[in-house]
Symmetry: C2
Subunit: 387 residues, 2 copies
Amino acid sequence: MKTSIILFFMMMATVALAQQNVGYREGAVVSPQVNGDGSVTFRLRADAAKHVTVVGDWATNGGKGTMTLGADSVWSYTTPALPSEMYTYRFDIDGVVGIDPVNPFTRRDVGNVFSIFYVGGGSADYYQVRNVKHGDVVETWYHSDAAGADRRLSVYLPPSYGETDKAYPVFYLLHGSGGDETAWLELGHVARIMDNLIAEGKAEPMIVVMPNGNFSKQAAPGETADNLGFKPVMTNMLGDYKNGAYEMAFTEIVNFIDGKFKTIPDKQHRAIAGLSMGGFHSLYVALNYPGYFDYIGLFSAGLMSDLNTTREAYKDEDMKLARLSQVGYKLFWIGIGEDDFLYDINTEFRHRLDGMDFKYVYHESSRGHIWANWRQYLLIFAPQLFK
Amino acid sequence: MKTSIILFFMMMATVALAQQNVGYREGAVVSPQVNGDGSVTFRLRADAAKHVTVVGDWATNGGKGTMTLGADSVWSYTTPALPSEMYTYRFDIDGVVGIDPVNPFTRRDVGNVFSIFYVGGGSADYYQVRNVKHGDVVETWYHSDAAGADRRLSVYLPPSYGETDKAYPVFYLLHGSGGDETAWLELGHVARIMDNLIAEGKAEPMIVVMPNGNFSKQAAPGETADNLGFKPVMTNMLGDYKNGAYEMAFTEIVNFIDGKFKTIPDKQHRAIAGLSMGGFHSLYVALNYPGYFDYIGLFSAGLMSDLNTTREAYKDEDMKLARLSQVGYKLFWIGIGEDDFLYDINTEFRHRLDGMDFKYVYHESSRGHIWANWRQYLLIFAPQLFK
C-alpha cells in the first residue's frame, strides 16, 4: 500500500504541474539574487529580446542597469553593493516594462506593480518577518457622517493586545497622494516594523491606525463598489487633498477607534504622522484639534500654507500654531530628504516655525520623495512615542 | 492667492510625474476592456514584439488568444463572450510571460502573479465590492503546541460582529496545495462573497476562519522568518499533506478561535470545508472530531484513502465514517468538476459512502481543478450553513 501512496502522490505532483497557476521554479533562473556584499544580481530568460534593462529604486546609477546576454542565454546584471533597504524593480524588455517573471513577490505602488527584494544588515532587518510575537492586522470600516459613507481603514494591534484588558496608545499614520489604507502596510511594512521594534523593547506596544486619506473614496482601488473601474492614480489634489473635509472630520476616525478598540483616549496617548499628502493632513488635523495629539510627525510633508484661505481647516494657521504651542505637545517632528522636491517648502515652513519660536525636531536624510525614507523615518519616529 | 494655489498644485502634479512609482494612465492603452456582451478585449503596446498571445483561465480556446498588431501599433485580441467569473491572465511576449503592464490589479496564485478582471452578470457579482455593510478581515496568529510555533490565520468577521455581545457560528475554510492563509481571501474572494450573501439575506452572518494548512510553515510565503527565501510552491505532499499532524491538531485552532472571538462553540454552529488538499484535510478533521462539525464540504477534494495506514489521523476510516454517521451531521457536501483530475478518486469515494449508506449531497460542475469552481462551490455551500 505504501508504494501506491507514493505512486499516487507522484502522479498527483505530475498532474498538478498541468493544473492552473502552479509555479514550480525548478530549472528556472534565480532572480533576484541578493549577494553577500549587498550587491544584487538580476537574471532573465528572454530569447528574442534585443535590449533589456532593470529599472529599480536604488540610488546608484539612478536605479538603472543594462542587462547583458550571457553564453547561457540568460540576461543578467549585478548592481553595486546597496545599502540595507527594501527595493522595487522592473525589467524593461525592448520597451515593455514588467515584473520579474520568476519573483513571486510584488507590491503595487499607485498604478504600477513592482517586484521587490530586501538587502539586509540594516533598516531592512526591521521590514522583514522575524521569529517574534506578531500583532494582528485588521481591515475594518467606519461610518463617516461627513462623507456620508462607510470608509475602510487598516489597524495594527500590538502582540499583547486583547490578552488582558490593558488599553493602548494609538498612532494615526497617514499615506500620501496616490496611496490608500493599504499603503503603509504593504509599502511601509508597518506591522513588521512595529513587531520588531516592540520585540526589541525599542517602541512601546501601540495601536497603529492607517485610514484612507482620499476623502471622496471609500477604500483602496479595487476595494470600493467601483471595483476595477477605480484605477489608482495620484489623488485629485484640488478636490480631496485641499478641501479640508478629511482633516475636519478626523475625529470621526478617532471616535470610531476609541469605541472599537481598547485605547487610552487622551492626548498623551495619541500620535499622528503622515507622508507627503499625509504630512499635510497630519499638520492640519493637529492644528484643528490641539487637545488630541502629543506627538506629530511630518514625513516629506506636502505642505502648502495658504495664509489667506477662508477654509475652516486651513485658515488662521499662525493662530492655530500658537494655540498648539500653548496647549502643548511632546514632539513635533519634521523629516525630509535633501533631494525632495518639497525640500524648499519644508524649509520655508521651518523658518516660519522658527520665527514664532515653535519647537520642533528636524531630521534631514539623503535622497528624495521615496518609500525608503518614509520607512526609515518611521523607524526613527515610532520609538519616540508614548515614553 | 487662489492662482498661486492652482499653480502650486499644477507644479506639484508635474513634479509628481517624475516621482517614484506614479502610474498615470492617460494616453495609455486600455486593457483589459470588458465589453457589454461579456467578451473581453486585451491591448498591449510592444513595438519590438514578433508574437504575442494572451494566456488566461477561461475555457474557450483553452484560455489562449493570439494578439494581432493593429495600424495603431497596438496588439489586441478579443475573447468570445465569457461566462460571469473572475479571470486571471498574462501576456506571452516572444516567450516572456508577464502581467498586463496597464492593469494594476493582480493576484498571486502559488508561484505566479496574474492580472485579473471580472465579467459581471452572474457569479462574479458576488466577488466584487457592493455598497453593503462590510465585515472585518483580521490577520492573526495562534500558538500551536503541536507545531511548536506561532502560526498565522485569516478571519472574516460578519458586518454586525462586535456591535453587540452576539455570538456567531464559525465556518473553517481550508486552502489547497500551494495555497496559504491568504488564498481564500485573495483568490476565493471570501470577504466579498460573505458580505454580499449576508446583505441579500442568503447566508447567515458567520465568522469564516482560513488557517494555513502547510503545517511545517508558520504563514504564507514572504510572511515567515524565511521571508523571500520561502518561495511559494506546491505543498510537499509526502510531508505536510499526508502526515496527519495538521488534522489531529486542528482543535488548537478551534480553541483559539473560540477563545478570541464571540463564537457559538458547538457542533450545530461549526462548519468545515476545503478545496483540493483542504478537502482532504476537512474530511479527516471531521472524521477525527465527530462532535465538532454539523456541516462538512469537500471541494474538488484531494482524497487519498489509505485503508491500511497506521497513522492516527487516517486509520480506521470506515469505522470513523460510521461513527460520524452515528453522531450525526446536517450536511456532507461533495463538489467536483467533470474535468477534474481528481474526478475518479471522488467517484470511488462516493461509491464507498453509498455502500455504507453514508448520506451526502453531490454537486457536479463543469470544468476542472480551478478557482472559478471553488468560488462557485462557496456560493452554493455557504447559504446552506447554520439554518
